[in-house]
Amino acid sequence: MIELEGIWRTYQMGEEVLHALAGVDLTVTEGEHVAIMGPSGSGKSTLLNVIGLLDRATKGRYHFDGRDVTDLTDDELSAVRQQSIGFVFQSYHLVARLDAVENVALPMVFAGVPRRERLKRAEAALDAVGLGPRKHHRPAEMSGGQRQRVAIARATVMGPGVLLADEPTGNLDSASGSQVLDLLGNMNREGLTLVVVTHDPAVARRAERVVVLGDGCIAREWQGSDVVSLEQLFGSQAEQSSP
């Protein structure tokens, strides 16, 4: 699904050259659940943005769903994002003036789905995240957990292959956080490829694979049952750097 080969992302900061990513090789297969961890500044978010085609690698090749997307034009990248990638952000990024249904319907507006069908599909997506009764509430009238579930409904309403989540529970208490994670877990079990960036070992533990970044490179990887022991290994460091 996602194949990164020797990905570099370099920023020019005045005189200095900053390597946010320095030769990352990463393959995520279809239906996989991967967590990306690492201290602040290790390049987690940059990696997620490159995977999500919001940012371009300075060097390296990227195949998405079997297609080389390294040199696509801006509009072509938009089309791939629209059809195949869902985003969930720490701060939800809901449009404050639109109610829940309209927020969920937003990606379909740009895809040119007719309004009637758009609203029907958006309502179904809201039902699927358990927010059917709140469909006409605006973000300001909802709790953090509800807002994040609206955001998840929006990220999945186009039926993307991949969902990218950047600290999805970062602003949530543990109860609504685990509700959100359960929801994402269920979607993953139904075949959605899930890549989650997190500081929180409790979040990472739910993944099948954990990739730890350090200084723009992949420092460690845990697979399968190893992940469970990760909390003890990583706990203290993650506690310190979480916001």
Binding site: N49, S78, A79, H93, P107, V109
Partner: protein
């Protein structure tokens, strides 16, 4: 993404910031109504002058004392070496065969009184030809008698309104009025023709020209008006008039003008004035456009994370740009429509107070004001929209 969706999105965004949107609309509305209203007034004035001059008949030649270098303008007062005399008028009547009539005119302001009722009005000295020359009618009584122009006679023809003021509920015919220190007998009342180019026919007295000249102790005529025969050539008539008077005076110390040239000159002055007013008013429209730009720039920086989100959701750069352009276009179009509504209301209100002043905005001004306002909105909307378009989605999302 359909235009309807874009429109809906823009409307949503605008209605979310009611005060800001409202103030922007107001700015554009004031700009558009300023342009439309000022051009309406200018055009109205031009039309008014035109119809007023038309009502005098078009083939009217006027001889005024004094020389003006440029034909077609109204000659300056004073500095006339030779007066225009009654003898000049007689000569013109005799020798200019194109003339339908020749009417010598003397003019002044006098108090006309019937016992304690009195009014200061224009008392014009003329002949029996004045009423047909100005295409007026008598309401009752008689015209000035046909007689030698250099003979005085103690008679007066009153304007309708003057007659009504001096003789409320009475028949003025045969009664005496005091004009200055003279007592004149009312022999006729003119029909009400309203205002005619600076001369209020209703509030006017008409006396024999010699009577007026001695009353004002004025040896020269104010002017001579000469209606030309329907099929005669204006230019040859003017040449002939000039020739006859030149022979008598030995110099060009008079000016021959036509009603048309005066009307034309006034019309072009008013036209230029209208354009100047429209130009000044468009400044307010441009200021309003800058207002839109300012608000749109604030909107874009405020909604930077939203732009990032839209890009993440798969919106193309051009789609984002169009969303912001729609907002600017909506403000300027709705503002323009509001401005025209204000203009319509204002000209209607004006119409109530000045019934014979037609100040409806000219079509070209309405079209121009609307086009300019929409253009202004789009031009000043492009910069903020481009700013939104160029945002890096990653940076925008992080804000």
């Amino acid at each position: 993404m359909s235009s309807l969706d874009q429109l809906r999105f823009a409307l949503h965004a605008l209605s979310f910031h009611r005060l800001r949107t409202g103030l922007c609309l107001l700015g554009i509305a004031i700009g558009v109504s300023a342009v439309a209203l000022l051009t309406s007034l200018g055009e109205g004035a031009r039309r008014y002058v035109n119809t007023q001059f038309k009502s005098l008949g078009t083939n009217l030649v006027i001889v005024v004392p004094g020389r003006s270098e440029t034909a077609g303008t109204i000659p300056g007062v004073g500095g006339a070496p030779n007066d225009l005399t009654l003898a000049d008028a007689r000569a013109l009547e005799r020798e200019v065969h194109q003339a339908r009539l020749v009417v010598p005119i003397s003019m002044g302001s006098e108090t006309v009184a019937n016992r304690e009722r009195h009014k200061q009005v224009l008392v014009l000295g003329g002949t029996d030809g004045f009423i047909p020359a100005r295409e007026l009618d008598l309401e009752r009584g008689e015209n000035l008698p046909e007689m030698e122009w250099n003979r005085s006679s103690s008679v007066i023809v009153l304007g309708a309104e003057l007659a009504a003021e001096l003789f409320p509920g009475e028949n003025p015919l045969g009664q005496k009025v005091r004009v200055g220190d003279r007592r004149l007998r009312v022999i006729g009342v003119m029909a009400d023709h309203g205002q005619q180019v600076g001369l209020d026919i209703g509030l006017m007295g008409l006396v024999p020209v010699a009577t007026a000249m001695s009353m004002y102790d004025e040896p020269g005529l104010f002017r001579i008006i000469i209606p030309i025969r329907a099929h005669a050539d204006m230019q040859s008539a003017m040449d002939r008039i000039e020739q006859v008077l030149f022979e008598r005076h030995g110099e060009l110390d008079f000016t021959v003008i036509t009603q048309d040239s005066v009307a034309g000159a006034l019309g072009s002055i008013l036209g230029a004035l209208t354009l100047a007013l429209a130009g000044i008013a468009s400044i307010s429209l441009i200021v309003a456009g800058i207002g839109i730009m300012n608000v749109m720039l604030v909107t874009v920086s405020e909604r930077t994370p939203e732009v990032g989100l839209l890009r993440a959701l798969g919106a193309e750069r051009q789609q984002v740009k169009r969303l912001f352009l729609w907002e600017a276009a909506l403000i300027s179009t709705v503002g323009g429509a509001l401005g025209l509504l204000i203009t319509w209301g204002a000209t209607r209100a004006l119409g109530i107070y000045l019934p014979n002043f037609d100040a409806s905005p000219p079509g070209w001004a309405v079209a121009a004001a609307l086009t300019v306002s929409i253009g202004v909105g789009l031009i000043f909307g492009v910069l903020p929209a481009n700013k939104a378009t160029r945002l890096d989605p990653v940076a925008a999302l992080r804000q």
